[in-house]
């Protein structure tokens, strides 16, 4: 199979990317989704609060997803459901498997990664105690309650104050479950202020900040948890421990961008975000592979995920068009490639434009054997990139770097294209960032070479709430200059 743009994942990021890619003129756009339906996590997020920024109204998750599923269909994007991507390669092939089509290879003009994120499980936490039934991640419980119609227990404690956990505190309460407490190890809540108010305070659910669960009790089924305040080193203070009986424990302790495919392909990841390092066009360190949404960094609002997806989709369409133009010059070899691909057992691959005379292997091109080089310039080393020696759109461009400064945990994008205007805002470059610590009366400061480019006042900042700051591209340093984003007191 041969497509212009393949989108890995049919959640809000992937749907937006597919819409934007089609709107930007990409011929064949294919969404590959492993679930039976598109929408990602949105169908199980039945609460309101989605779309205030993008649609100007407050929608539920299923409504938000429904609008984009329709837009993608109207725009002419294709999709393969119940299809699991096994591998993506640096020469822009996607290997996937589905019950209907078996093993499939897709040759792409560009790829958009939109795999989203997954929840941090109990195994990632060092909670002493037994391993009884009744412990769920908050998102799993949300799926059980909202999609499958199963309430996981009668008396619950929630560890972590991320948004999904807060939303589930309210949801379980309305379904007749007694939510005894939300326990948060940090001194501040992880979720949005509105969720603290409307999910906890509205129902008088206690929130224990600076506390953690110090032991899990119960043999077959959870019988209760020990809760204790923590000291400065976040170690539970044993003398102050108390017991809360419960049969259900929900974990809302963080989300991790899902990047197994990206890592195996040798895409450079940012340890601060857990996602690919991207340019302002959402291009990763592998030319022709773009990324958007929670696979890049965990967002708190789906509206921002959609914005990312739109940028990635448009840029991917441009990359695919440039690849197709290159392929036109080598069209003579296309027939041969088709014959070779068709002859290969197992993979139902069809060779096509741009395939050159490569053989279709299922193991990629030695991805990961060589670390991706991405230090300020995105020059494509010979033999990398799209595999036929030509450079893709980013190959000839110079990239500047954006770095987190004081009290900034991470910035996205981490690179910007010199002279680029496509990063979603024409002459404006928008940088998303998350603070390391809560602070009040601060200024978000963008600077380069000792010069302040932009100052934006903020009443308060919290790690749970993503910030955005915009700068005029004309003020950015030239060459491979470095821009720093800091949060400083006023």
């Amino acid at each position: 199979m041969n497509v212009d743009v393949a989108v890995i994942g049919g959640g809000p990021a992937g749907l937006a990317a597919a819409v934007a890619a089609r709107q930007a003129g990409a011929g064949r756009v294919l969404i590959i989704e492993r679930d039976v339906r598109p929408g990602g996590v949105l169908p199980q997020c039945i609460h309101t609060g989605f779309g205030v920024k993008w649609f100007g109204e407050e929608l539920t998750g299923p409504e938000y997803a429904g609008r984009f599923v329709k837009q993608a269909a109207d725009a002419g994007a294709e999709s393969m459901l119940e299809t699991m991507v096994l591998e993506i390669t640096r020469d822009l092939r996607v290997v996937a498997v589905s019950p209907r089509d078996g093993l499939v290879m897709v040759e792409c003009g560009a790829i958009v990664l939109a795999m989203g994120c997954r929840e941090r499980p109990r195994g990632a936490l060092a909670i002493p105690g037994t391993r009884p039934a009744g412990i769920f991640t908050a998102g799993t419980a949300q799926r059980l309650v909202n999609i499958e119609g199963v309430v996981p227990g009668r008396r619950a404690v929630i560890l972590g104050s991320g948004d999904v956990g807060l939303i589930m505190a309210r949801r379980l309460t309305l379904e007749g479950v007694k939510v005894e407490a939300v326990v948060e190890i940090m001194s501040y809540a992880g979720g949005l202020a509105r969720n603290i108010q409307q999910c906890l305070r509205d129902f008088d659910i206690p929130l224990y900040l600076g506390h953690t669960i110090s032991r899990i009790h119960g043999r077959d089924r959870l019988e209760g948890v020990s809760v204790a305040p923590v000291d400065d080193a976040r170690v539970p203070i044993a003398e102050k421990e108390w017991f809360i009986p419960c049969d259900t424990l929900l974990l809302s302790v963080g989300l991790i961008p899902e990047n197994e495919l990206s890592a195996a392909c040798g895409i450079e990841l940012d340890p601060a975000t857990g996602g690919p390092i991207v340019t302002d066009e959402m291009e990763t360190s592998v030319p022709g592979i773009f990324a958007c949404g929670n696979v890049v960094h965990v967002h708190d609002l789906v509206d921002h995920v959609t914005e990312d997806g739109m940028v990635a989709g448009e840029a991917a369409a441009a990359a695919a068009a440039s690849a197709a133009a290159t392929a036109g010059a080598t069209a003579v070899t296309t027939a041969a490639a088709g014959a070779m691909a068709g002859a290969e057992g197992g993979a139902r691959a069809k060779g096509g434009a741009g395939a050159g005379t490569r053989t279709t292997t299922m193991t990629g091109t030695g991805a990961g054997a060589r670390p991706a080089h991405y230090s300020g310039r995105a020059g494509v080393p010979a033999g990398e990139g799209n595999g036929d020696g030509t450079s893709r759109i980013s190959g000839t461009r110079t990239l500047g770097e954006i770095r987190p400064g004081s009290n900034v945990r991470y910035v996205v994008p981490q690179r910007f294209v010199q002279g680029g205007e496509r990063g979603g805002g024409g002459r404006t470059l928008t940088i998303s960032l998350r603070p390391s610590e809560p602070a009040e009366n601060v200024v978000v400061e963008v600077s380069a070479a000792g010069k302040v480019l932009r100052r934006q006042r903020k009443e308060r900042v919290r790690p749970g709430e993503m910030l955005q700051v915009s700068v005029d591209r004309r003020t950015l340093p030239s060459g491979d200059g470095v821009v720093t984003v800091s949060i400083v007191s006023r």
Binding site: L59, P62, E63, N146, A193, R194, R201
Partner: protein, 119 residues
């Protein structure tokens, strides 16, 4: 959250700033940074309302639940009763997002409408 004699404090959710706004003596407001905060706190004090989102059972084995929302905010004190009412409903396809599933919940005038399609 109430505190102090005759005082009422709420986190404003009109925007992401999240001011702690206090209403005392019925209409004296402090802690807000804008007019929206004042209005929000007064409404929260006088007549707090919420959109209720929940699910109703369906006759489809593949999709046992259909998500619904009230088409307007209902009084906060009725949330539990309204949730219980929706838990007794069971509907059959076809339903399209936006279709009314339950009319005039508990005399509020609000309807529960589907937020997803059911085929």
């Amino acid at each position: 959250m109430t505190k102090g004699a005759g005082e009422f404090t709420v986190t404003c959710v009109a925007c992401p700033v999240g001011c702690e706004v206090t209403v005392s003596g019925g209409d004296e407001v402090r802690g807000n940074r804008c007019d929206r905060g004042r209005e929000y706190a007064l409404l929260e004090h006088r007549d707090p309302r919420r959109i209720l989102t929940s699910t109703v059972r369906t006759t489809c084995p593949d999709l046992p639940l259909l998500p619904v929302r009230t088409d307007r905010p209902i009084p906060k004190r009725l949330l539990f009763e309204a949730a219980k009412l929706l838990a007794t409903e069971c509907i059959s396809p076809p339903v399209k997002a936006g279709d009314v599933v339950v009319r005039d919940i508990l005399g509020t005038g609000a309807s529960a409408v589907a937020t997803d399609d059911l085929f």
